[in-house]
Symmetry: C2
C-alpha cells in the first residue's frame, strides 16, 4: 500500500479561527486514487515545528502533502523552512513569475504588483514547480530519501486545482497504487448501536480486506464498506456481494444505497418524476433552501421558497390564518400544514416542505421549550406532519430540523403522496 500524510501549516488552525476543510477534501481525493492517508498533522508558523513534522511524517508515509503558509504576508515562513530542509537557495522561477504577472493582468488590473507579490515566484532551486492555475503562489515538488513532498497553498480552490491537474497524475508515475473501493448507504430511524446489533453476524464474517465504518450524523447513520486489493475486478465483485447483503439487512431503514446527501436523493426523485418543489421555512431560516440549491442542477425542480421568520410574513406570503397563529401559535401542526398549502399555491409547485420551531437559545416556554419543532411535507393530495423535541444548540437544531424535514418529504414522495 502507498501511504500519505498531510501537514497543514498555520497558526490560524491552532487558534481555531479557521476550520480545516482542506484535509477532508485531500483525504477523499487520495483515497479515490488508491493512496491511504495514514495521518494528518497541523502545526503553527514556526520553523522548528515544521521541521519536526517533516521528519516525523516521512517516517511511515511515502508521500507528504503540505498545505498553507505560502501567502505573501509576514506570518508565512514555510518557503524559507523548506529551503533549509531540502537544501538549495531561493531563486526566481520564470514560469511562476509569468503566472503572477498574468494573474494580475487578468484579475487585478487596477492593483499594482507589489514586491511581495513578485517574491511569490521565488522557490528553492531544489524543487520542481507545480503550476498554480488559480493563484499566484506556486506549488513545490521535492524528493528526498525516496519520499515525495509536495507543498501547496492553503487556499482551497488553488490547492484543489493543483491536486487534480498536477499532483495526482504525477504521483501515478511513481507508485503502483492498490485499488480502494467504497460502497456507502444511508439509514434513518435507527440508532448506531441498534444498527450494529442488527448486523453483527454479517459484520463479523467480513473478509479481512473489507472494513465497515459507522458514520452517524443528523439523526442518520451512514454505513461505508471499504475494500482494498490489487485485483480491481475481484474486489468489485466481492464488495457487490457484501453490499447487497448489507442493503438487504437494513432495508427497513434505508434512505439511499449510494453515497449521497438527502438533498441529492430528493433531487433525483424530483427529476425522475418530473415534479417541482418549494420550501416554507420559519426556524431553519433558509437553510433547507440552501441545502437544496447547493446542488448543481437544482433549478430543474426547485422553484423557490419563503423564509417566514415573522408572523406577518407567514400570513401575507403563505396564507397562514391569523386565527391559527393566535390560537395554536406559530409552532404548531396547524401552522405548518397551512405553510405547506400556502407554499403549494403561492409558489405553484407539486410538493412543499415546511418547518416551524424554536431553535434557541431564547424563545422557549414551558409549553413549547427550546427544541420544539413541527414539520410538514406534502402535495395537493396529502400532507404528512411530524413533531420533534431536539435538545442541542441553535446550529445543530437547525441542521437536525432541516434533515428531518427533507426525510419526511422523501417518504411522502416515495409513498406517492
Amino acid at each position: 500500500m502507498v501511504f500519505a500524510s498531510i501537514i497543514t501549516i498555520g497558526d490560524e488552525l491552532l487558534i481555531g479561527q479557521v476550520v480545516d476543510t482542506n484535509s477532508a477534501w485531500m483525504a477523499r481525493t487520495l483515497n479515490a486514487n488508491g493512496i491511504w492517508l495514514k495521518r494528518r498533522v497541523a502545526v503553527g508558523d514556526n520553523s522548528a515545528d515544521i521541521i519536526r513534522a517533516l521528519d516525523e511524517e516521512s517516517r511511515e508515509a511515502d508521500i507528504i502533502l503540505i498545505t498553507g503558509g505560502l501567502g505573501p504576508t509576514a506570518d508565512d515562513i514555510t518557503k524559507p523552512v523548506l529551503c533549509e530542509y531540502f537544501g538549495g537557495k531561493l531563486v526566481v522561477n520564470e514560469d511562476a513569475l509569468n503566472n503572477v504577472k498574468a494573474i494580475f493582468a487578468k484579475l487585478a488590473k487596477d492593483r499594482p504588483i507589489l514586491e511581495r507579490n513578485l517574491k511569490q515566484a521565488e522557490v528553492p532551486d531544489t524543487c520542481t514547480v507545480i503550476h498554480n492555475g488559480r493563484g499566484t503562489a506556486p506549488g513545490m515538488w521535492f524528493e528526498k530519501n525516496g519520499k515525495i513532498y509536495v507543498s501547496m497553498p492553503g487556499v482551497p480552490h488553488e490547492m484543489q486545482g493543483m491536486m487534480t491537474d498536477s499532483v495526482i497524475p504525477k504521483l501515478g508515475n511513481y507508485f503502483k497504487m492498490p485499488f480502494i473501493l467504497h460502497r456507502t448507504l444511508v439509514t434513518a430511524g435507527i440508532g448506531e448501536s441498534a444498527l450494529a446489533e442488527h448486523i453483527i453476524h454479517w459484520e463479523s464474517a467480513l473478509p479481512k480486506n473489507i472494513k465497515l465504518a459507522y458514520l452517524p450524523n443528523y439523526g442518520m447513520v451512514r454505513l461505508r464498506l471499504t475494500g482494498s486489493s490489487d485485483e480491481k475486478e475481484m474486489l468489485d465483485k466481492v464488495l457487490d456481494v457484501q453490499f447487497a447483503s448489507l442493503t438487504n439487512l437494513v432495508s427497513e431503514w434505508l434512505v439511499t444505497d449510494k453515497d449521497q446527501t438527502l438533498q441529492q436523493v430528493i433531487g433525483e426523485l424530483m427529476v425522475a418524476r418530473k415534479k417541482t418543489l418549494s420550501t416554507a421555512e420559519s426556524c431553519t431560516g433558509g437553510y433547507i433552501a440552501h441545502l437544496l440549491t447547493a446542488e448543481a442542477g437544482s433549478s430543474a425542480y426547485y422553484q423557490g421558497g419563503v423564509v417566514s421568520y415573522s408572523n406577518h410574513v407567514k400570513e401575507n406570503m403563505l396564507n397562514v390564518s391569523h386565527d391559527t397563529l393566535i390560537t395554536d401559535g406559530a409552532v404548531s401542526e396547524h401552522t405548518v400544514i397551512q405553510m405547506v398549502k400556502g407554499g403549494l399555491s403561492r409558489l405553484q409547485t407539486d410538493y412543499c416542505v415546511a418547518v416551524s420551531g424554536i431553535m434557541g437559545p431564547g424563545g422557549g416556554s414551558e409549553a413549547k421549550p427550546v427544541g420544539t419543532v413541527w414539520i410538514a411535507a406534502g402535495s395537493a393530495e396529502r400532507i404528512e406532519t411530524q413533531k420533534f423535541s431536539f435538545r442541542f444548540n441553535r446550529q445543530r437544531n437547525i441542521e437536525l430540523t432541516a434533515n428531518a424535514a427533507l426525510n419526511l418529504l422523501r417518504k411522502v414522495v416515495l409513498s406517492g403522496g
Copy 2:
C-alpha cells in the same frame, strides 16, 4: 507557557468523509484559557497508530486531548488501546453506568439498552471518569509522567459539554496559565498583500510578545493581534495601544473592529437603529437568509425573505416585471433593483438585500458567463447596486456573493440610505 496537543481518532477523518470541526472549537477554547495548542494530529482506528500518537504528542505538550473512537460499535478501539497504554483493566464504572441508564430512561424509552450500550460504562481502572452530561460515553482523565491525557467522545456537543463543565476547570488546578489575549478587526476592499504593504512599518515595530495574523476569506481580510503575558493588565494596555494604531491605519477599509461576522455587524446596526430587514435571493438560494438567522436574536430585525429561484416566483412573490425578465434577463441590474423594491413592499421591511447570478457549473452564456452576479441593497429612500464576476466553483461563488451582498447592505445602512 502551557502547551496542549489534540489527537483525533477515526478512519472517517482519513477517508475524508467527515470535516473535523472539533479541533477548531477545542483550539479556541484552549486559547481563551491561556493554553497554547502546539499541534493537532489525526490518526485512524488502529492500535499502533494511536500509541505512536500518544508517545509523540506527549513529547512537547503538557496536556493531550483525545477525541473520537468511543462509540459503541465495532470500529471503535480507543478504550482497549488506552487501557493497554496506561495500564490497568477495564471495569464497569458505577457513575458512568447510571448515566447510560438515565439517558436511555430520558431519551430513548422505546429503545432497549443493549449490551454494547452498557459496555460504554466500562473504563480503565487507572482513569478518573469525566461525566458526560449529553451522551452515554464517559470521558477519561489519565496522568502519566507528569502529563495529563483526557479522552472524550467525538460527538461535538458531548465533547464541548465535557470541556466546558469539567476539563477546563480541572486543568486550572494543575497549571498556572499565562494570559493570551486577542484583538481582531475585519477589512474589505483591499487585498492581503496591499494591506501588508500598507502597515509594514507598524507591523515590524510590534513588541516580541505580540503577533499579527492575516486571515483572508470571502473577499475580506481579518487581522488578528495576539499577545501573551503573565501580566494581564499590562498586556491589555499594550494591546489596546497597538490595536488603536492598527485600526487607525486601516480605517478606510474597516468593516468592524471586533471579532465578528458580517451578519453580526448587520444585526448590531439593525438593533441600534431599530430597523427591519428582508432578503430576496435567487442564486444564493437561501444562504443569505441562513447566515442572518444563524445568529441568535435575529428575529428582532429579520422578518423573512423570498428565495426566487424560478422566474415565476420573481414575478409572483417579488413583483419583478415580466418585461424586465424578458428584455434584461433574470441576472441584471433592473431585476435586482425590482427584487429589492418587491422585498421592501411585500415583506414590509425598512431594508432589503437582493441577489441574482449564475453560480455554475451550468447556466452560463457568452454575454453572462458563470460567475456573473448582480446585487442590490437599499430602502425606500435609496437602492445601491453592484456587479461581480466571480470565477470559482458553485459553493464558493455562493459564499462570495452572500458576503458581497451583506457588505453592500452594511454600507447602504451606514451611509443612512
